[in-house]
Amino acid sequence: MSFPFFQYEFLQNAFITGIMIGLLAPVLGVFIVVRRQSLIADALSHITLAGIAANLMLGRNVGFFSGLNPIYMGMVFSVGGAVGIDQLRKVYKHYEELAIPIIMSAGIGLSVIFISLANGFNTDLFNYLFGSVLAVKKSDVWTIFFILLIVFAFVIFLYKELFVLSFDEEQAAVSGIKGKWINFFFIVLVALVIASSMKIVGILLVSSLMTLPVAASIRLANGFKQTFLLSVVFGETAVILGLILSYYLDFAPGGTIVMFSVIILLLSLLWKKLRSNRKIAINQ
């Protein structure tokens, strides 16, 4: 049984997109996790859903929107949510995490209303919620490729600044690093990556691809750079295995990708435990 990668264009689209996301999500995820903002991805994915639902609703009534790839409207909402979180954090200086449930519930509330207005669920929406191997279009591939270029330019050229800001904002301020706009661009990029990942992983599971590979690598890695490397290896492994399995079993890929991430996480915990047990045994 050979995998018909070269036979079907839809599989190529799905895999190329998946591999790009397997790179993007964990890279940004490392910064999110070490800043203890893991839930940000959840809040932004739910506001993205509102954008998708809005587009589906408008598509029924306005011709222009029915031809438009909903991913763009998702991005608009997601970036809007990112700006909202940034603003709310300034309002609630001492309760910064409050911004996340506020944006998240606003996102779900809006989604429910738009979905109701669009006369309920359909297969399109199902694909956005849980991901799909079939639904990735050529235009999605190019959009995500473009985002990949932006994110990599940002992370490579501002690596130092992102690193200090994640470790110690006060130190960053003393060494003259202007954290405000870097933090802002960062959260906007997270919003874009989330909106672009949802075709493959699905809105409900996007955040797991940002956090689970990092959660696994943070236990094993020595240093910050190694954390990136391992996170990407884990992320890509989960995406590729998950896509293959979802193709053969005809499951939504969101589920299989996330479950592979969970398995990798469990294996990393087990590995760490065995290794530290051995260390204790040697010391004794």
């Binding site: 070490v34 050229f157 600044e161 470790f167 110690d168 750079k225």
Partner: protein
């Protein structure tokens, strides 16, 4: 004060208050270049606030701050100032960064936006780590080290940009007693051998006074400011009076 004389820090009539609470009242003092100044005072005496004002992290309601003769608002050479904050003790210890990576952060401001570390920088990072005696731990995760070792790493991070002034805010909190003397000795050597101006903030004058050259005592107002010899004299003459009801904090005998 002649025009040529530029102390590392000069604070003129600085006052700071949060909404209804005065924290600092009319503080005026200088840190001469090359000195090792101990800034002491009980908890809540405004020491950290004063430091944050002179770093520009807080804006005082009145008064002026000069760094190396320049008004704070015009001061740009932040790589000349090393700062080890009190918070260094409570950072995210699970942060996945090696000692080398943490120390490299001290150079980022100097290297500048969109630029990368070169070989000279890398050598500097290694030297700073050697200076604080942590060369054997270069590639270990910061979280695996003891409190005293972590604090040395943060000093290395502050030293790596070749500062002229190093400010340490309660650096020995969370460091085991046995390491504290060695830690102060290391600071004393930096001051003597490298001519580094040091400002050490602490509530513990007992240990500190054996190592510093100058002392300033703060409790909202500045109660004493001078070199160590004068300080010893004053303290024998009932220095603790100045602290009023905070006397208990100063009951360390010399």
């Amino acid at each position: 004060m002649s025009k040529q004389y530029k102390p590392a820090v000069r604070i003129e009539d600085l006052s700071f208050h949060y909404q209804d609470r005065n924290v600092l009242e009319h503080i005026t003092f200088e840190i001469p270049v090359g000195s090792f100044m101990g800034l002491v005072g009980p908890n809540g005496s405004g020491k950290s606030t004063l430091i944050r004002c002179l770093l520009g992290l807080l804006k005082p309601q009145s008064g002026n701050v000069y760094l190396f003769g320049q008004p704070l608002s015009l001061f740009k050479n932040w790589d000349e100032i090393g700062y080890v904050s009190q918070k260094a003790n409570s950072f995210n210890t699970a942060f996945p960064a090696t000692v080398y990576e943490v120390v490299s952060m001290g150079l980022f401001g100097k290297v500048g936006l969109f630029r990368f570390l070169n070989k000279v920088h890398k050598r500097k990072i290694e030297q700073a780590i050697e200076t604080v005696g942590m060369a054997d731990y270069m590639n270990r995760n910061i979280g695996e080290l003891s409190g005293g070792q972590q604090q040395r790493v943060f000093i290395a991070r502050a030293l790596v940009s070749d500062p002229k002034l190093l400010i340490l805010d309660e650096p020995t909190v969370g460091v085991d007693a046995a390491s504290v003397a060695g830690f102060y000795q290391m600071l004393k050597n930096l001051n003597r051998e490298k001519g580094l101006t040091l400002l050490l903030v602490t509530h513990d004058i007992g240990v500190m006074s054996d190592f510093v050259t100058h002392v300033a005592c703060l409790n909202k107002q500045l109660h004493f400011h001078g070199n160590t010899a004068e300080f010893e004299k004053v303290s024998k003459e009932g220095f603790s009076q100045m602290y009023g009801h905070h006397v208990h904090v100063l009951e360390h005998q010399h």
